[in-house]
């Protein structure tokens, strides 16, 4: 049990500046993009209160992309918390979900679908061109996507069967990745009634399931919870390979089961130095926070409880703190804690749940905020 949790009204005690964005509400009627200012400890609702969800900071820390309902469906909006303004992107599809930024902040990827076909395609919005394009050659079934910050991992991807790789289009995809960048995505695979999910690599004109090049029976398993490290040299993901849900890391050394425990392990999040992975696990019964050293797989608990859950961890830019959601006091609220589990502090205390926290990156005044 956790005792003596401190609610801090002034966050100066954290030694952090900047903001954390989150979703306030989370009900079927109200969910609003919000931020908490770590200098003052004050929270502000900056979204549309239109079932806002999935906030994502731009790499320069100036904008927050999020999904928000509008009369014709769901659009991606951009909030500028320092400028108190907010705008919507123009879309081809009526429903647009789960935005993710490219490493240079010049593109935004999200999944989108229309009303008649719920299988989403992967869409990339190019800010310089001011328009969207469908990636992956139009393949359907993408559930969520994350940009890779580099193509390093592609260089390491050298399957033994070069002929099969050539026929699958891997080499053409590598060339396109060098030119346009690359997205990794979780997508639906298989067919009803034996649906599955797969880890895909996606460029403008192609998408390929990644793991079958490395693990022949990869399609037996259902993957989720995708998270590349900050240099895109390794990808952490979940799979039920082994019987229960485990965390795996795909990198130059191949694929390693890094969490390996009979209880389920979910939602990996790399530390800023890419040495640690924070994640959720049920190894103590309820959903708790843990971290593992990626090089050894050594797991240590951050915070667990027998009567409450902790989830959605995200690291501070300096790796000194982890923000997360917990219902340890009833209504889910945001808390911060050091990665070793010390100095637990509650940072929101609203009447409605505070969910989906994401720590603002260090602000870079790059002048790349044009839409």
């Amino acid at each position: 049990m956790v005792a003596g949790v401190l609610l801090i009204l002034s966050n100066l005690l954290l030694g952090q500046t900047g903001m954390i964005t989150y979703i306030a509400g989370g009900s079927q009627e109200h969910s609003q993009l919000s931020v908490i200012d770590l200098d003052t400890g004050e929270s502000a609702a900056i979204g549309r209160d239109a079932l806002d969800a999935y906030p994502a900071w731009s790499p320069d820390g100036m904008r927050i992309a999020y999904q928000s309902r509008h009369p014709d469906g769901v659009c991606i909006r951009l909030a500028y918390p320092l400028e108190s303004r907010d705008e919507a992107l123009s879309h081809i599809h009526p429903v647009n979900l789960r935005p993710t930024w490219s490493a240079d902040g010049k593109q935004l990827a999200y999944v989108a679908h229309n009303d008649t076909d719920p299988l989403p395609v992967l869409v990339v919005y190019d800010f310089a061109a001011g328009k969207e394009s469908v990636w992956g050659g139009g393949q359907q079934g993408f559930l969520s996507a994350v940009w890779l910050a580099s193509t390093d991992l592609m260089k390491a991807l050298n399957p033994e069967d070069q002929e099969a790789a050539e026929s699958a289009g891997l080499f053409k995809l590598k060339e396109e990745a060098e030119q346009y960048g690359i997205v990794t995505a979780i997508g639906v695979s298989g067919a009803v009634p034996n649906l599955s999910t797969e880890l895909f690599i996606v460029t403008p004109s192609a998408s390929l399931p990644l793991l079958p090049f490395l693990v022949p029976d990869s399609k037996r398993y259902v993957k989720y919870g995708l998270c590349p490290d900050h240099k895109a040299r390794q990808i952490a993901y979940e799979s039920n390979d082994g019987g229960d849900r485990e965390l795996f890391v795909l990198g130059r050394r191949g694929i390693i089961n890094v969490s390996n425990h009979p209880a389920a392990d979910w939602n990996p999040a790399w530390s800023p130095d890419d040495n640690w992975i924070a994640f959720e696990s049920f190894r103590n019964g309820r959903r708790g926070l843990y971290r593992l050293l990626a090089s050894t797989g050594n797991v240590t608990p951050i915070l667990t409880g027998s009567t409450f859950d902790c989830w959605a961890p995200d690291w501070s830019p300096d790796g000194e703190w982890i923000v997360f959601v917990s219902d340890m006091h009833g209504t889910p609220q945001l808390f911060v804690v050091h990665p070793d589990g010390s100095e637990l502090k509650q940072i929101t205390d609203g009447e409605v749940p505070a969910l989906s926290p994401m720590w603002q990156p260090e602000i870079k005044q790059s002048g790349s905020t044009e839409k």
Binding site: L51, A53, R245
Partner: protein, 345 residues
């Protein structure tokens, strides 16, 4: 339980419920006593114990046809300030239906039909499945209350041991509609387990009337898991339900049959929840409604082994009996109690 015993119990219950008008708060919402209640009751054997959740500690007792039975309690605190009591009758409680009473010094709160005591759990039994009652819906050939009353009377005359009511209890989620639903619910002599539907989403009304949206219970060897099929558009993976689904799924892992019940299944619902319930540790069955018709081609769970059981809407006068035995859960033919079936949704 044989037919004669059932009849006596039903008679006693009918007489006794009439005196339970003080149950809950004056507006029908849950008060001091949160759980169990007539939407999430406890079913225990004579020597068994159950868990109660209250806003604060109180003296608890069971009240039924057999009289007042004091409960021995072991208290613990829950997140959010709620108090949890592990409750055991000080002497064995005869089989029957009981109200749970709580006295805290300032008053008494009563949850009617909150605890059912059985002499044993059968290997083979029946479950009544009602869905989409839409209390408050107008423009029907018969009043909504009359339709549901007829269904409940039919269920009371059946051999069913419990009833699952899978959402869209109300048409608009208004408190007045929940109050009317509660009045009808208490006509049922069986334990009634409810979950919310998309029509019940108005403020926090469902939770105020019934409590948690996610829970599990066991009935003999079988495990039942109730959950809210949230709207995928608002990213249900942000909330805490996914963690509860995994935790509760593990609690009923050893069950003979694992049976989920919810308002609807949609392949675009939260993928985390689907992976938990249909992939990593698949439920044997998922019972739901929402579509206001019999299952057709394309309906069902596309992940593998979980079998879907879909029942048309009660507002159209229909419900279904499921037979549960050593070979599985078997949906029987839909029972049509309506004079004018096949109305629009």
């Amino acid at each position: 339980m044989n037919g004669f015993t059932r009849h006596i119990l039903a008679l006693a219950l009918t007489c006794w419920i009439g005196g339970m008008a003080s149950a809950r708060t004056t507006d029908g919402t849950l008060g001091l006593l949160q759980l169990p209640n007539n939407g999430i009751p406890a079913i225990v054997e004579m020597q068994g114990s159950f868990t109660a959740v209250l806003r604060q500690e109180a003296t608890l007792s069971l009240s039924g046809a057999a009289g007042e039975l004091p409960l021995e309690t072991i208290w613990s605190q829950l997140p959010g300030g709620m108090q949890q009591a592990q409750c055991s009758p000080s002497s064995p409680a005869p089989p029957g239906v009981y109200a749970l009473r709580a006295a805290d010094g300032t008053g008494t709160d009563v949850n009617a039909r909150a605890v059912y005591v059985v002499d044993s759990f059968p290997e083979t039994y029946q479950v009544a499945h009602i869905t989409d009652t839409h209390i408050g819906k107008t423009g029907r050939p018969r009043p909504d209350t009359e339709i549901l009353t007829t269904i409940i009377e039919t269920i009371n005359a059946s051999e069913a041991a419990l009833t699952l009511i899978t959402g869209d209890l109300t048409e608009n989620g208004e408190p007045e509609q929940f109050q009317r639903f509660l009045g009808l619910l208490d006509l049922c002599r069986l334990p009634t387990f409810v979950v919310p539907g998309n029509h019940d989403r108005k403020a926090d009304n469902y939770r105020r009337f019934f409590g948690p949206l996610t829970y599990y219970f066991t009935f003999g060897k079988d495990g039942y898991l109730a959950f809210d099929t949230k709207d995928y558009l608002i990213a249900n993976e942000l909330t805490g339900q996914d963690g509860l689904l995994h935790f509760y799924r593990r609690q009923i892992r050893a069950s003979r049959w694992s049976i989920g019940f919810t308002h609807r299944y949609d392949v675009t619902m939260g993928i985390r929840a689907q992976i938990t319930l249909f992939v990593d540790d698949p439920l044997d069955y998922l019972v739901y409604g929402h579509i206001h018709r019999e299952a057709g081609e394309g309906d069902g769970i596309p992940w593998g082994s979980t079998r879907a059981i879909i029942t048309p809407a009660a507002i159209d006068g229909v419900f279904r009996i499921l037979r549960v035995d050593v070979n599985g859960v078997h949906p029987l033919e839909t029972i049509d109690t309506a004079a004018n079936p096949n109305q629009e949704n």
